[in-house]
């Protein structure tokens, strides 16, 4: 039987994190970008839970719960902001954000 070590969790979480980063970079839809960011935060949670198991204490889990709570608060505010943007512009495409240019 293969034992699951923190290194395995690290591989999974870094893959998840990279998918999130690439999503933010290449996708044009604001909602999908936002979902990619949530993916990055979940990679963090995975890391924290795995390390918490490794060190045999709860600090990491408490940290993860804080991350989840903050992500929820951020999602509430973020979706409100995106909605306000949509009401004015009738689009959620990031290429349409062109009022300000240098």
């Amino acid at each position: 039987m293969l034992e699951i070590t923190p290194a395995h969790y690290m591989v999974l979480s870094s893959a998840l994190f990279m998918i999130g980063v690439i999503g933010v970079m290449v996708r044009r839809n604001i909602i999908i970008i936002f979902m990619s960011i949530e993916l990055m935060l979940n990679a963090v949670n995975l890391n924290l839970a795995a390390f918490s198991q490794q060190w045999q204490h709860v600090t990491g889990q408490v940290f993860a719960i804080f991350v989840i709570a903050v992500a929820a608060a951020e999602a509430a505010v973020g979706l409100g902001i995106i909605l306000a943007f949509y009401r004015n512009k009738e689009t959620v495409n990031i290429d349409e954000m062109n009022v300000m240019r240098w």
Binding site: T59, I81, A84, N88
Partner: protein
Amino acid sequence: MPPGFSAADFYYILPELVLVAGALLVLVVDVLTSRQQRPLLGWVTIGVLLATMLTLLPFSDVDVLASRGLLAIDGFAFFFKLVFLLTALVTVLMSSSYLEVEGLRAGEYYFLILCATLGMMFMASGIDLVTIFIGLETMAVAFYILTGYLKPNRQSNEAAVKYFLLGAFSLGILLYGMSILYGLSGTTNLRELATVLATGEPSTLLIVAVVLVVSGIGFKIAAVPFHMWAPDVYEGAPTPITAFLSVGSKAASFAMLLRIFMEGLPFLAEVWQPMFWVLAVVTMTFGNLAALTQSNIKRMLAYSSIAHAGYILIGVVANSSRGVTALMIYLMLYVFMQLGAFAVVVMLRRRDVVGDELKDLSGLYFRYPVAACAMLFFMLSLGGIPPTAGFMGKFWLFSAAIESGYIWLAVIGVINSAISLYYYVRVVVFMWLREETLGSPIVASPAMALALTVALVGAVIFGVYPGPLFELAESSAQSLGGVITGVGVSSF
């Protein structure tokens, strides 16, 4: 350590508790007053901030770890909290007339400003990764809302979306770095982290974590190449919020940076010093060059504030107690210079004039000599001309760099200050040498006049008589654990 919290823990966060109670009071007063009595809210907020400042004063020479090692109540935190409260105070003073012209609701606005200030205060005193992160988010979420506060305005919407997406993205990067730091050390307390990780050769994973944390914080202080959100957000946000963002959020992020790197990772100085060296040089050079061509004054001040982040980073690179002292002095002076400049821009906003283009300043001297002279002083101060506050700040930063052996960094800084003079003086040229433009008269409300006076008095007094500020900053910098008191090691 006994479980739970003692009464002493609540005593040590008394200023924060007063601020929370005050923020709730603002919401209640908002509901209880009629539309005509709204200006009252601004003064309630001022009262709350002054009360917080008063309760903060007894903590000037305390140095303890409160709440089971989650918060460090020390001189460093005291100094930064003072900076945040002053920033919030001047921002609120310049807001009332702006809210009236834009027809915005005042209650939530002031409430969110107080929330952001609360977050900053926890960022400065947090000595645990979790506390710092919670403080950072309390501040950031309040700022996301404030940036988009002009709901029907497209620029404001766009600024809020950009700030939110990039802010959340940078948070993800920062947190991933923090999670690796926790994984390697088994603790989230920065001082314990320093002792656990200091032994042995740094692993590759640790270096990765440092790089992630540096880029996450780089976003928050708007250092090049992580600055792309800053100009758009600063231009689109309501002007007083731009002022608050460019001073308060930046100062808080620097407090977080110093805590993490000087308390938590002082043994990795050889790794992060070169990174910050590069960031400082690129940031100030790019910021200044981009500011040269701007015609929108908010955008110009945005690039100028990016450049200032570069100067301030010099204090981090120096990695000595003198560098930290210089950094803190510069931040305090920057509060007055930058907020003063923004106060003049806010004053230009009238019913028929948006007032954020350079040409709106045309001939200001002939109609409003006092405002023009104040703006002249702030511009020269930001540029670092000798008798002003800005010169003193830069002088200390550059001399700290030279003392630590970074002579080239100081030289690049001086060259950059010279470049920056071009666009600061251009503002003056518009005010003195151009034909005046028409528009309804500028009326400075008493609050606005007070904001300008505070900024001017602060910049003038600390420019000619910096002794007390220097002593306060020096003693505060001492309390930052892990600061190398000797001369730093230079590899450049």
